[in-house]
Symmetry: C3
Subunit: 642 residues, 3 copies
C-alpha cells in the first residue's frame, strides 16, 4: 500500500462556488484523501426525518471529480438542536450531577438507547446513499470518542444500563457483594436496583464499584460504535475507521478497534505538549514549537496495535491550534517532520486538519492549510513537499521491532481509581518507559494486555499492568528474551482486590511485594547504581536473584530466568541503566541519541527526525533542524536500487 | 466647581441620639457630602407596601442642619427578605446552575421583570418624597453594579429576555445562524426559542453566542438602571450617579454612564492591589500599604470618560478593609495622597467609606474614619488635612491631555471569550500600556471605542481593540499625531468572526496579521532593540514600513503615515522604547520618573504623588514619602497669584 | 490503671474458621483490647427489623475466650443501603447543594430525626444483647464524627432544626436581627421561618449567621451522640467512648466528651503530616516517615482534656495508609515510638488499626499488623516489643504540667468565618504555640475555654481566643504566674460583633487593639529583639507596660501584672524568645532540644522520643534513631526501686 496525504474539509462551511477550486488546489498539493461530513447532521437532516443529501452528493462529486478519495464521516458527534426536544434526557451528566447540554459537541450519553436509535437511522440513510459511491473509499464513525471527557456519564440512562450490565456480569447481588467486598462499611445491596453510580458519595466509593463502572462505560462506547459498524457493513465494503485522540484512556481502544478496519488518530503535537503531558516546564518550553519528541511516536505505535497493523493520522496539526492553554506556532519544517514521523511508524495516510481556517465559531483560531482569506498558510508548502517526497519513499509500513511495551487501558483506570500516591499516573509511567527505550534508538511495538505471542521480541516491558491475565502470563513463561515486569504489576485481581498470594506472582519466580509506598515529588529513593526510584517504591521479598538494590540495601529488582521484577518507578537515569543492561543481555544494539534526535526504521530506511531547531550530526548522518533524513538500511531490498 | 470631601454614613446602624454629634463631627472635619440610604430598604419598607420614611426624614434633616449635602442612595442592591417570597425566581443563577440566593447583597437577576417593577415602586416613593428636598443634592442609583460577579445570570428570566433580545437583533433564526456560524458543529436553531444560554455545554460554546450573551447582559444593566433614572428625572433636578467598581468590565460603563450625570467609583487601593491586579509578588509586597501607583489614576481617567468629564470617588478606602485576601493597614499619609490623586485627575468630590466602623455583620473589619468606639481612626486627621488644603487648591478639574488610550468593555469580553492564551487579559494589556505612559510623566485621557475626534491628541494608543468601528476608524484616518494600534486590534468582525481581508485592515495601511501565537509565561520573543514580546505575538505581512523587528527577523511593528501597528504584547522595557520613540516623533516631552513617583497636571499645578515610603527629590521637587507636592505651572493663570 | 495495647478487628471480613487463630495471635502479641463492630450494620440487620447477632455473639465469645477485652462499636456511621429507601432525605448536603449519598460511609445528616430514631433502635438492640456481656468492656459510639467534612450539612432537615434552635436561643426574630446586626444590607427577618442556611449567597453571609450555624451543627453532633449514650447507660456500666480524629475542629469535642467516660482518637502521624498540616515542604520531607514530632503530643494533650483525664489511642497507624496524598512507609521503630509517645502523655490504651490488611474495598492499601496473606507486617513485632516493655513501665498516667494552653473549638469556627487574612488558621496558631513550648522541653496541659482554675500552672498561653468568657476571665484575674493572651484574643462578643470597649479588655489592664492588619505570606513585621510577626499584626494603645516592640517602634506586647497581651502572630524565633523570657520570670526550667528530639514526663520517668533517623545524645541521655529512652526522675517514688 502506498503512503498518502489528505485533508479534512467542510464543504458546508463554504459557498458552493469555491468547492471546485478548493478540490483542484488539494489535488495540486498532492493530497489524495479528503475527509468530510462528520459534523454536518443539521445540514443532512435540518428537520427530523427530512433528509437533505443533495449538497453532499454535489460535494462528493466535486471532490471525486478532482481525483480525491473521500472519507465520509457519520455526524453522530453533533446531534442537531431538535434532537434535544425528542430526547430531553439524552445528555450526559457530569460527576457532580450537572447536565452537559446542547451548544457545542459530543452532547450525548453513550448509554441513551433512544439516541442510539437516532444514530442508527441517520447512518442507515447515509449508508444506503453512499455505501457504494465510488468516491467514498472509507468511512469514519463519529468523531473523537472520549474527547472533552465524555466517556463517563452519570445520567439516568447510564444508571439503568449499568445495573443491567452488572446483572449480566454477576447474575446475583450476592455475587456482586462478594466480588466488591461490600461487607466493608455495610455497602451490601439486596438487588441490582440498589446499586448506584459511583459519584456523589461522602468519601471515595468502593474501587471495585468504580472499576466496574469504568468497564461498563468503555463497553458502552464499543456498543455505540458497533451500532454503526453493523449498519455500514451491510451497505459498503469500504474500510471503517474512527479518529481517536491523544492521551485518551477513558475507554478501551483495542475493543473499539476490533470492530473497525483501520485505526486513526488526531495528532496535535503542540497542543498535547501544552495541555496533557506531565513534563518539566523547561522541557515544555524547549519543545514548545516542535512537540515532545516521543509523544507522536508513542501514539503511532499504540494505534498501529489498535488497528492491528493498519493506521492513519486523520487530523495532523498544521499550525497553531485554538484549544491548548497556550498556542504557539510550529517552527518551519515541523508540519513535514510530523508527517514523516507518522510514515516512519507505518501510517498509510496523514491528513491535515483542516483545509481552510474557519473564520467563525469555536475553532476560528485553529490554523488550516489555507488562511481564512484562502491564501496558503505555511503548512501547505510543507504538505506539498511531503507529497513530492512520497514519490521516492512511497511504500507504507515499518520494520518489525525487537522491543515490546504492553499498554493496557484498564490499568489506566485502575491507578486513577486507586492511585495511592497523588501523581501515580499509568500513562505517564508507560510513556516514560517508552521514552527511555526510544532514546536508545530502539524500534518498539506496543502490545495489548492479552498479547499471547512474544516470540518476535528480545525485550519486553510490562510496567504497571494492574492484572496479568492468562494469555500474557503464559507468553511470559515461554519467553526467552528479557521481560521487565513492574512496578505495580499484577497487583490486583480481576475484581480489583489485592491478590493472595501477594503480587506479582509471576510464573516460576519467588518474588513478593511485601509492601509498597508512594513518595511525594521531592522525595526519591536512590539506587546503588545511579538514578533513583520516584513516585513509587516496593519492598521485595523472595528467593529471586537481586539484580539491583536501593541505597538503603533493599532489593530494587529481582530476576529469575527471563523475568525481572522492577520494584519501583525509575527516574530517567535509573531507567537508562536498567534498559541498557537488559539490552546487553539479549544483544540488542543501542545508541545514545543526542537530545531531540529520534529514529525509526522502515523496511528499507532508518528515518531520522530532528526535533530541535539546530542541525545535528550523529553517526554519520546530518539531520537539519526540524528536519528529516533518510538512511538506507544495507540489508533492505530497496537499498540496492535507491 | 469646587473640590469637596464627603463620607458614607448609615444612620440606620446607629442610635438616633448620636446622629447630631456625628453630623457635627463630619462638618468639623471639613466634609461637605454625606451618602446615605443605599442598603436600607428593609427599614424604608419593612413590610411590603408599608413605607417608613420618618427616620430617613429625620436623618436628612439632621445632616442638612449641620450644613452637609446628602447623596441619597436607592436601596435596590439589597432587596429585603420578603421580596424572595414575592419573587422566588428573582435570583441570579451561577454558570453551573446554582441559585445565588438571599443572605448577603446583590441577590437579584438584572433580567427579572417583576423585580424591576418593585425597584420602580420604591424609587418612585423615594423620588416623590425627597426629589425636591433641599438637602438631597445628588442621587446614587443602586450600588456597585457587577460587584461579586453579578452581571451574568443564567436564570430562566435571563433566558427569556435573551431570546427576546436576539429576536430584536436578528429578526430571523436564519440570520442568527449565519451571524454565529452555527453550521459549525450542527448548532443551527430553527427558532429563537431553541437558543439556550451559553453555559453547561460539553466543551466551549460558540464564541458568538457568548459575545451576544455578554452584550445582552450589559444591556440589561443599562435597562435596569434606566428604570430608575427615568423615574428620578421626573421628580428631581439633582444629578444622578452610580458608584462603579474597580477593574470591573462585565458591563459597558459608557452605556450606563450615558444615562447619568456624573460617574463615581469606589477606590480601594490596597484591596484592589491584593485581589485583582496581575502583578509580581515583589510589586505587590512593595506597594502593599500604598496601592499600585497607577491603578487609581487609571480608573480616575476611565471614569472621567464614563462621566463625560464629571466624576467623583464615592468610596475612598480609609484604612484596612475586610474583603481582600490580605488586608494590611495603609501607611500614614496615604488616605490624603489618594484624595489628592483623585483631585489631580479632576474629581469633584472624594467621599471616604465609611464614617464609623460597624461593629457587626459582614464588614465589621472594614475601617472607617472613626473606630467602632467612636474614637478617631488615623484617616480622620488626614481627611481633615485635605479639607484644609482645599482652601488653597479648591478648583476641580484637570489639564487637557496630549495622550489618549482607547479602552473598550466589549474587547474585555472578547478576549475572555476567546483568549487563545490562558493569560491574555484585555484589562491587563490596557493597564500596562497606561502604566508605560504614566511612567513617562504623561497626562492621559481614556477614550471610548466610538471616539470620533482625536484632534486634541498627539499620541493615541489602541491596544487589543477587538473591533474597530467606523467613527474611530475615520478619526484615525484623519489623525496627524502617532497612533499605535495593536496588538490584536480589529481582529474580529461585529459578529465575532475573523474578518476577511485579515486584520488589522487599517485605513491606507498595507499590513496583515498573517497568523498569531500565544506564548506561555516563561517564553518571550526578544525584540532587536531590547525588551520582548510576551503572551502574544503576531506574524505581520504587507508593504508597510517595518519600524521594529523581533530577534528572529520578523516584523514586530509596521508604520504607514500616522499609524503604527504593533504585532505583539510588549514587556515594560519594549513598551518604554516604543513609547519614547513615538513621543519623540510628535515632540511630546517625557520624563524618567523614579519608581513610585507619579504626577498629573491640573490647570494650574503639576501635582506630585510619592507612592513610596521614602522622600524623593526629582526635577527640583521634594516629595515626602507617601506625600504630595504641588508644582506651580508657569503658564497657568493661578501661577502668578498663588 | 495499667497501660494496655489493642487492635481493631473486623470478624465479618474473614472466614469464621480463622477467628480463633487470629485471637490467639493477638493475645500472643500482648494485645489486650480488640475493637469490633463499628461498620457492621448490614450484617447485624441485613433486612430492616431482622437482627442477625449470632455471628457477633460467636466473634465476641472467640475473642473473649482468648483473654481479649472487647470494645464494641455501634455501627451508625454506616447505615445500610435499605436505610436510603426508608429515609430518602437522610443525607447531608454539601454547601453548593449536592446530596452526599450512599456508597461510602458517614452518609447521614446529623439533624435527620428519622435517622436518629433508627440509630436508637439498633443501639437499643445491641445494648440489650451485649450490655452485660463480660467480654464487652467498653463501647465506642459511631466512628470519627466529622471525618470527611461531615459536620456541616445544608439539608432540609438541617434547615428545619436550625430554625428551631434559633427560636430557642433568641425567642423573637427581632432579638435575632439585633444580635446579628441584620440591619446591615437589609437582611432582617420577620420570622424564624425566614432564616435560611448560610450557603448559596451571592457574597459572604453574615458572620453571626455562620457562627450560629456552626454552633447549631456542633450541638447536633452532641445531641446525636447523646441519643446513644442515654440508651447505653441504661444497659451497661462499661465506659463509653468515641474515636475522634486528628485536626478536626468542626464540632466542640469538649461538649461531646462531657457525655462520655473516656476520650479516644485515631492517630495517623504520616497521613496527617501529609494531608492536614501547614508546614514547609522541607519539614514535610524530613519527617515524612516519622510524622511531625509534635502533632501526636498535641492531640494526646488535647484529648486528655476532652476525656477529663482519661483517654486512649483507638486507631494507631501501623504502616503506610491509603488516604493521604502520598503514603510512605514509616521507618522501623516508629510504630513503637508512637505508642510510647501516647503512654508518655497518659494514654490508658493504644490500639493499632487494623489487625489484618483487608484485600478488598476502599482501604485495601491500608497496612495492618498482618499483611493480607496473614504474614506479619513489620508493626506486629514492634507492638509485641511495646507489650513486653509494659511489664516494666505499666502504670498509666502522666506528670502534672506547669504550662497550660487554652484551646477552643469556637475560635476555630470564628477565624474560619472571618479570617481577615487568607491564612489565618486558629489550629495552626495554637499548634505553633504548642510546638514552641514543647521545643523547650516543657510538659503542657491543654485547657478548655471555660477553664476556671489556673492555680496549678506557672505559664498560661491564650492565643486567638475569640471570646473570653467569665470563668476564664476570672481565673486570669486571680492568676499569679505569667499568662500570655493574644494575638486576636477576646476580639468578638458572644454575638460575633466587635466589642466596645475595644479588645482585649483584660481585667485591670489598659491595653486596646486600636486596629489590626493581616499580612501576606511574604511580608513580616520584624521585632526589635529578633524574629517577626507574620500573618497578623495589631496596633496596641494604652498605659500597659510595653515589653516588646516591633522594628517600626510600635508596641508588640504589653504587660500589666501577671497578664501580657501579645499583639501579633510570632514566628518561631520570636515565639522562642517570648516563651523563654516568660519562663524565666516564673522560674520554669527550659531546655534547648535538638531538632526532632522531644520528651514528656510521667510520674516516674522522663520519656525521650527521637523522631529523627539518627541517634541523639542530649543531657546525658542516648536516644536511638526512631527510638525511645526512659530517664528515671529522681524525685519519683518508682525511681528508688526501678
Ligand atoms: Zn477534540
Ligand atoms: Zn463591593
Ligand atoms: Zn476517617
Amino acid at each position: 500500500m502506498k503512503r498518502a496525504l489528505g485533508v479534512c474539509y467542510y464543504p458546508e462551511h463554504w459557498p458552493e462556488e469555491i468547492w471546485t477550486e478548493d478540490a483542484a488546489r488539494m489535488a495540486e498539493a498532492g493530497l489524495s484523501w479528503v475527509r468530510i461530513g462528520e459534523f454536518a447532521w443539521s445540514r443532512m437532516e435540518p428537520v427530523p426525518g427530512e433528509y437533505h443529501f443533495d449538497w453532499l452528493d454535489r460535494a462528493i462529486d466535486t471532490l471525486g471529480a478532482a481525483g480525491l478519495k473521500v472519507v465520509l464521516g457519520t455526524p453522530t458527534a453533533t446531534p442537531p438542536r431538535w434532537m434535544a426536544d425528542r430526547h430531553p434526557d439524552m445528555f450526559a451528566r457530569a460527576p457532580e450531577g450537572r447536565v452537559r447540554g446542547f451548544g457545542s459537541r459530543r452532547h450525548y450519553c453513550f448509554s441513551h438507547r433512544g439516541y442510539r436509535r437516532e444514530c442508527a437511522r441517520i447512518v442507515t440513510e447515509m449508508a444506503k446513499r453512499y455505501g457504494t459511491n465510488p468516491h467514498v473509499q472509507a468511512w469514519q464513525i463519529d468523531n473523537e470518542y472520549g474527547c472533552h471527557d465524555t466517556v463517563l456519564s452519570y445520567s439516568d440512562a447510564a444508571l439503568t444500563a449499568f445495573r443491567e450490565w452488572l446483572a449480566q456480569k454477576y447474575q446475583s447481588p450476592q455475587a456482586l457483594n462478594r466480588a466488591w467486598g461490600n461487607v466493608f462499611w455495610s455497602m451490601e445491596v439486596a438487588s441490582f436496583d440498589e446499586v448506584g453510580l459511583p459519584n456523589l458519595t461522602v468519601t471515595e466509593p468502593n474501587p471495585s464499584h468504580v472499576m466496574d463502572f469504568r468497564r461498563f462505560a468503555s463497553d458502552e462506547v464499543v456498543a455505540f460504535n458497533r451500532v454503526q459498524t453493523e449498519i455500514l457493513r451491510r451497505h459498503t465494503n469500504a474500510p471503517l475507521l474512527h479518529n481517536y485522540m491523544g492521551r485518551e484512556t477513558a475507554f478501551d481502544h483495542y475493543d473499539v478497534g476490533a470492530d473497525l478496519d483501520v485505526a486513526s488518530w488526531d495528532s496535535y503535537p503542540l497542543g498535547f505538549l501544552s495541555d496533557r503531558l506531565k513534563v518539566s516546564d523547561q522541557h515544555r518550553a524547549q519543545f514548545m514549537r516542535q512537540g515532545d519528541p516521543d509523544l507522536q511516536a508513542f501514539h503511532h505505535d499504540l494505534y498501529r496495535a489498535v488497528g492491528r497493523g493498519r493506521w492513519w493520522v486523520m487530523e495532523q496539526q498544521p499550525g497553531p491550534v485554538n484549544w491548548a492553554p497556550w498556542n504557539p506556532a510550529p517552527l518551519p519544517g515541523m508540519a513535514r517532520l510530523w508527517a514523516w514521523e507518522a510514515f516512519a511508524h507505518g501510517a498509510e495516510a496523514v491528513c491535515y486538519f483542516r483545509w481552510r481556517q474557519a473564520p467563525f465559531a469555536q475553532e476560528q483560531m485553529h490554523a488550516g492549510l489555507l488562511r481564512p482569506d484562502s491564501a496558503p498558510a505555511p503548512a501547505l508548502a510543507e504538505a506539498a513537499q511531503v507529497a513530492g517526497e512520497l514519490a521516492d519513499h512511497g511504500e507504507a509500513g515499518c520494520a518489525p521491532a525487537a522491543v515490546a511495551l504492553v499498554f493496557d487501558y484498564e490499568s489506566a483506570w485502575a491507578w486513577q481509581t486507586q492511585p495511592q500516591g497523588r501523581d501515580f499516573d499509568y500513562f505517564r509511567l508507560a510513556f516514560e518507559v517508552y521514552k527511555g527505550l526510544r532514546k536508545l534508538g530502539l524500534d518498539i511495538d506496543i502490545l495489548p494486555p492479552d498479547a499471547a505471542d512474544l516470540s518476535q521480541y528480545r525485550l519486553v516491558m510490562v510496567p504497571g499492568l494492574a492484572t496479568l491475565r492468562d494469555p500474557l502470563r503464559q507468553a511470559l513463561s515461554r519467553f526467552e528474551g528479557v521481560a521487565i515486569v513492574g512496578p505495580r504489576a499484577n497487583a490486583k485481581t480481576p475484581d480489583f482486590a489485592t491478590p493472595v498470594p501477594l503480587p506479582p506472582n509471576l510464573p516460576g519466580f519467588d518474588c513478593i511485594v511485601a509492601r509498597v509506598e508512594s513518595l511525594p515529588p521531592d522525595c526519591a529513593m536512590p539506587l546503588e547504581t545511579g538514578g533513583a526510584f520516584r513516585h513509587w517504591r516496593e519492598f521485595l521479598e523472595g528467593d529471586g536473584q537481586v539484580v539491583l538494590r536501593s541505597e538503603d540495601g533493599q532489593p530494587a529488582m529481582m530476576a529469575a530466568g527471563s523475568l525481572r521484577y522492577l520494584g519501583g518507578w525509575p527516574d530517567p537515569e535509573a531507567l537508562d541503566a536498567i534498559l541498557r543492561d537488559a539490552a546487553g543481555i539479549v544483544d540488542l544494539e543501542t545508541q545514545t541519541l543526542p537530545e531531540g534526535l529520534r529514529c525509526r526504521c522502515t523496511a528499507t530506511h532508518r528515518i531520522w527526525l530532528n526535533y530541535t531547531a539546530d542541525p545535528i550530526r550523529h553517526g554519520g548522518m546530518d539531520v537539519p533542524g526540524c528536519g528529516v533524513a533518510f538512511e538506507r538500511l544495507e540489508a533492505s531490498p530497496e537499498a540496492a536500487g535507491t
